[in-house]
Subunit: 279 residues, 2 copies
């Protein structure tokens, strides 16, 4: 194990999950009440019940769980209620990520950090870099947490600004190189969001950030190629959390939905296990 | 009145406020329970009580009210409760802005738009552009709302990426010119966040976007020069919402805090009235 690896307690939780489960899978709980099986709608809290069954079904195959805050926030207080129960239900060994993409001036980012790291006790969060250093550092100051900064995202719109180039480097490359400095200054733990739809770029990003975990959305519904991403993006510790949301949680729509999700998660675990052998 | 102005019903609400109150003031409710006067802590909901008194005190002088979501979100469900009551309490003629700085892939941005435009009925929202077109359009598709896209922000970190240049234009200029196209394609209403700490740049931004409202944070606690910004940034309809948060809401800390806030708001109204004469 090379000494340059950032072995925060936090990342050790991910690495230990990868070793134990031979998986790089992160399950994304983007739960939309309009998409869950009809038979769950009679429950007091159908969103919780759906997530509870998905968590039970996929936990054996997943090292992390990413909760897309938008899907809970849009339900108002009821959504935050469900979120709290879901967080409490997720097994302790699974690394939890608030997919929140927050970022604001310093005193406001500090409030967002407090929200997701103290009010809710997530292990990590996704953060947007547009507002620069003082918008990111308040998250990094929680040195026992992991901050996944948006670098090169999986969506079509990523091309609009992230590839903007000053001749020497692109915006996303500038985000990576400057944020590595902020990580040093705070003693925090960085990761990056790198879309699975960008296999040609991930190798270069790995060179820039050899020891960082990449949270990789875009396999499944968005069409990213898992094997290509794993081959080009992995490092000695795995270094990847391959997120699948819709393709796992909506794998089925009937009474056997949880079984279908388990099957989808198991298939992804099996695919990613190829890259966990030496970890 | 020039025909190129985008007279959405929504912006008419702002313009009518400017005409009536002779003010460009937007009051920012960044309410932190650790900073409100001690005598309010005995109330059932001290955050609501503080904001209620600030709203009463400043409403005669303000055309808009910006609620910084981070400060409510960090209190969990209780915070969203306060937020709901505050929104219901704000007088109908005041334009409400969710300062949320959200932005994600299309299906997730659609959920955030639903949160702030449907679950809560804000008139406008701040949005972060890093993820590009499909992260912004779901907000613009609410054609009766105003989407204030981050362009050049007021904080120190703005220099890290927003001035990144491809030789022809900076990132923030690219954000403005591309988003104007998205506005056309959706029929929505754009505005921009332009920091008051950037008086030298606002004239250029006004040239790029002559008919847009700019939400201008950074006067007060962040040190922006109000007169310089107004002279260089205004248009025939005002075109500016000058936001003051901490300098207004924490103007006093005793039992007369609301009076002190009224005085601070009145002073800003008077200062901005100079630029409202011909509107």
């Amino acid at each position: 194990m090379n000494s340059y690896y950032n072995l925060s307690m936090n990342n050790l939780k991910i690495i230990s999950g990868i070793r134990q489960k031979k998986s790089l899978l992160c399950v994304g709980l983007d739960t939309d009440i309009q998409k869950i099986p009809a038979h769950l709608l009679g429950y007091d809290d159908p969103i919780f019940e759906f997530n509870r069954q998905i968590i039970d079904a996929t936990a054996p195959f997943a090292v992390a769980c990413k909760i897309n805050i938008a899907f809970y926030e849009c339900m108002g207080k009821k959504g935050w209620d469900s979120l709290e129960k879901i967080l409490a239900y997720i097994p302790q060994e699974i690394f939890t990520i608030a997919d929140a993409k927050r970022g604001d001036i310093g005193n406001t980012s500090a409030m967002y950090a407090r929200t997701f790291f103290e009010t809710y006790r997530f292990d990590g969060i996704t953060v947007a870099p547009y507002m620069g250093e003082d918008s990111v550092k308040p998250f990094l100051e929680y040195t026992d947490k992991t901050v996944f900064l948006l670098a090169l995202t999986s969506n079509k719109g990523a091309a609009d600004f992230q590839w903007f180039s000053n001749g020497e480097r692109t915006l996303y490359q500038a985000v990576i190189s400057q944020s590595l400095q902020w990580e040093k200054e705070t003693g925090g733990t960085l990761g990056y969001v790198v879309g699975a739809t960008r296999p040609d770029d991930i190798a270069g990003i790995r060179t820039m950030a050899p020891d960082k975990f990449f949270l990789v959305p875009g396999v499944g519904a968005q069409g990213g190629d898992l094997h290509s991403i794993c081959q080009k993006g992995k490092n000695d510790q795995g270094g990847l959390l391959i997120n699948a949301s819709r393709s796992v949680i909506y794998a089925g729509s009937g009474e056997d939905f949880a079984l279908k999700s388990a099957e989808a998660a198991a298939a992804l675990q099996k695919d990613t296990a190829l890259y966990c052998k030496e970890i």
